[in-house]
C-alpha cells in the first residue's frame, strides 16, 4: 500500500536559518502533493500545493519542490522565525479514487525555531 514518510519527527534550528523538511512516498504516483501547518490544539491549515508536472512552487518565505523520480518533496522556510514553530504535514491525493476524494497525510515534522 502507499506510504508517506516524513523522516524527521522533530527539527530544531536557529532563528534566521532555513528550515528544510523532507517528505518521501512509495508505491504510488500522486497527481499532487500538499503541505499543511498544524499548531497545538488546532486543525491543519493548508500552505502550498504542487502538481506532478511542477518542479517548484513558492509563497513568500516558503518553497516546495517535487521530484517525482525520487518520489520526494522538500519544504523550505527561509529566514525562519520563532512564529514558524509548528508541526508540518505532507499530504498526497490517494490512489484509486478521484483526486478530491482522498487525502492522506504523513506523520508530520515538529519544527522548533529557537531565538
Amino acid at each position: 500500500s502507499q506510504k508517506i514518510e516524513q523522516n524527521s519527527e522533530a527539527l530544531n534550528i536557529q532563528e534566521g536559518k532555513t528550515a528544510t523538511l523532507t517528505c518521501n512516498y512509495t508505491n504510488y504516483s500522486p497527481a499532487y502533493l500538499q503541505w499543511y501547518r498544524q499548531d497545538p490544539g488546532r486543525g491543519p491549515v493548508f500552505l502550498l500545493l504542487i502538481r506532478e508536472n511542477e518542479k517548484e512552487k513558492r509563497k513568500e518565505r516558503l518553497k516546495v519542490t517535487f521530484d517525482t523520480t525520487l518520489k520526494q518533496s522538500l519544504f523550505h522556510i527561509t529566514a525562519s522565525q520563532p512564529a514558524d514553530s509548528a508541526t508540518y504535514l505532507c499530504a498526497l491525493d490517494g490512489p484509486g479514487y478521484s483526486s478530491a476524494s482522498k487525502i492522506i497525510f504523513g506523520s508530520g515534522t515538529r519544527l522548533s525555531i529557537r531565538p
Binding site: Q34, S98, S99, S101, F105
Partner: protein, 111 residues
C-alpha cells in the same frame, strides 16, 4: 465566518455510550472527510463523502457510522464507545483543487 465548524469541541463520555459529532461547511465543497488523530499525532483518514455519497471507508469499525444529510453536513455517530476511541476527530472539506479545510477538532475522551 467559520469555514468548517464541528461540535462539540470536547467530549468526555463513559465506555459503552453512544455519541455524535456534527460538522458543517459553508464553502460549497463537494467532498467532506473525517480524520482521526491519535496520541502520536498521526492524522488518519476514516471516511470520505462526495456529494452526500460515501466514497471511502478506511476499514473503520462499523460502530462508526457517518451520515451526510446534504453536501454541507457530515456527522459522525459512534456506538458502544471504547477506550481506544479516545482521540481528536477532525472534519474537513475540499473541492477539486484538493486543498482541504479543517475544523477545529473534537477531542473525545472515553473513560
Amino acid at each position: 465566518d467559520t469555514a468548517v465548524s464541528q461540535t462539540p469541541k470536547y467530549l468526555v463520555t463513559q465506555m459503552g455510550n453512544d455519541k455524535s459529532i456534527k460538522c458543517e461547511q459553508n464553502l460549497g465543497h463537494d467532498t467532506m472527510y473525517w480524520y482521526k488523530q491519535d496520541s502520536k499525532k498521526f492524522l488518519k483518514i476514516m471516511f470520505s463523502y462526495n456529494n452526500k455519497e460515501l466514497i471511502i471507508n478506511e476499514t473503520v469499525p462499523n460502530r462508526f457510522s457517518p451520515k451526510s444529510p446534504d453536501k454541507a453536513h457530515l456527522n459522525l455517530h459512534i456506538n458502544s464507545l471504547e477506550l481506544g476511541d479516545s482521540a481528536v476527530y477532525f472534519c474537513a472539506s475540499s473541492q477539486k483543487t484538493a486543498e482541504a479545510f479543517f475544523g477545529q477538532g473534537t477531542r473525545l475522551t472515553v473513560v
